[in-house]
């Protein structure tokens, strides 16, 4: 996988745009998923995930080919997500609940278009409330929790993606877990 990606990146560097399409195809689901869990809204997730790939394309010559492309693209994506969260909610910590619900409403609107079988509804509701609780986390905890438990990345990789010392990542994961525990206790 890494070898294919390396080859494609070299083709992109030579000006082959189609080779980049193959890279997008390989990573789109993971990047989109991370964005979705960070932002809690499909529309924004798509927008930011696309933006992440475009940034990757325009800055591809700064990418160190000996490193993992996934680390790099996740780094771009999480940074864009955090920017978006901060721009959207400058007073995030004050009215976290309102802002969180807002993202969720849009998500449920998109979903309500398609009819769901009865048994799926319950799990959908559970999923929505979990997503809502994730959205309520302060962004610094949210990014580590998403990378750790949604993407199942190692602490070391997370520290590379977020450009934070390993100790900080650990502390944030601990605090994020504690915060989520309190929020999800009732479920």
């Amino acid at each position: 996988m890494e070898l294919i990606v390396k080859k494609r990146i070299q083709q992109v560097l030579k000006g082959d745009q189609n080779a980049f399409g193959e890279i997008v195809e390989l990573y789109k689901d993971r990047v989109y998923h991370v964005c979705f869990r960070m932002l809690g809204n499909r529309h924004e997730a798509e927008d930011i995930a696309q933006e992440a790939f475009i940034r990757a394309y325009t800055n591809i010559h700064t990418f160190d080919i000996d490193r993992k492309f996934s680390t790099w693209i996740f780094r771009i994506a999480t940074n864009l997500c955090i920017d978006r969260i901060r721009k959207k909610k400058p007073d995030y910590y004050l009215d976290a609940e309102v802002a969180g619900t807002e993202g969720l409403t849009m998500y449920s609107q998109v979903e309500s278009d398609e009819p769901l079988p009865e048994d799926k509804v319950e799990s959908m509701e559970l999923q929505e409330s979990i997503q809502k609780e994730i959205s309520l986390l302060p962004d610094k905890y949210r990014s580590v929790i998403v990378l750790k438990y949604i993407e199942e990345l190692s602490l070391k990789e997370i520290s590379e993606i977020l450009d934070l010392p390993l100790g900080t990542v650990k502390t944030r994961i601990h605090r994020g877990r504690e915060a989520l525990r309190k929020q999800l206790r009732s479920i």
Binding site: Q17, V31, Y32, R42, Q50, T58, H174, R181
Partner: protein, 210 residues
């Protein structure tokens, strides 16, 4: 719960990060068996993780890649060139050098488009033909540019005709070599040759001096 030591909670997280030592794990387990509050706490943490991980993996919309490709900046030729230049500085330097060099060479050639010849009082000009009349002797080399030369008399050096033709009449004599140059390429070749020759002459004369 507050009565439990802080480090028990820390141990829980170490456990969840899979960074706990065997001794610590034993300590944690013993404590959890005794303390109901910590047991609940630990259980809640595990449940939290399970819940977060239970969220289904969603996939990007089917037109995602196409949308990205459409939004990519069109490879501007200029941008591409710039990037290419940045990565091949040596080639750029060589190219610039070559352009400047050939520019100066062609300037020398192109600048002499007019009819000209080595000044001498003994020659006669007929239209664009320089004639060295019978009985006259031109001392040294003789060059005609963009014109013809007819030698009826005598030249004691080399004769060079650039962009023209040269006739030597039956009675005419040229002591040195006769050369006709017609095209830019030959002119280039001639310039190089004479430069090398000069260099050779120079080194030879410096040899003899020393």
């Amino acid at each position: 719960m507050n009565t439990c030591p802080e480090h028990i909670v820390h141990l829980m997280h170490e456990y969840l990060d899979e960074e706990i030592s065997q001794e610590q794990e034993k300590e944690l387990k013993t404590h959890l068996q005794q303390c109901e509050a910590c047991k609940t706490h630990f259980h809640e943490l595990k449940k939290t993780i399970a819940l977060v991980q239970s969220t289904s993996h969603i996939q990007a919309p089917s037109d995602f890649t196409a949308n990205v490709m459409n939004r990519l900046p069109k490879e501007k030729k200029k941008a591409g060139m710039n990037r290419w230049f940045q990565r091949h500085p040596l080639f750029v330097a060589a190219a610039v050098f070559f352009v400047l060099m050939s520019g100066s060479l062609f300037a020398t050639w192109g600048g002499d488009n007019e009819f000209a010849f080595t000044p001498s009082e003994k020659v006669v000009v007929e239209g664009s033909t320089v004639v060295i009349p019978e009985g006259e002797t031109v001392e040294g080399d003789f060059t005609v540019r963009n014109g013809d030369l007819r030698v009826e008399g005598e030249v004691t050096g080399n004769v060079t005709v650039i962009n023209g033709e040269q006739y030597t009449a039956g009675a005419g004599t040229v002591t040195g070599e006769i050369e006709e140059i017609d095209q830019a390429f030959e002119w280039l070749w001639y310039s190089i040759k004479s430069a090398v020759k000069e260099l050779g002459d120079f080194s030879r004369s410096s040899d003899t001096e020393s």
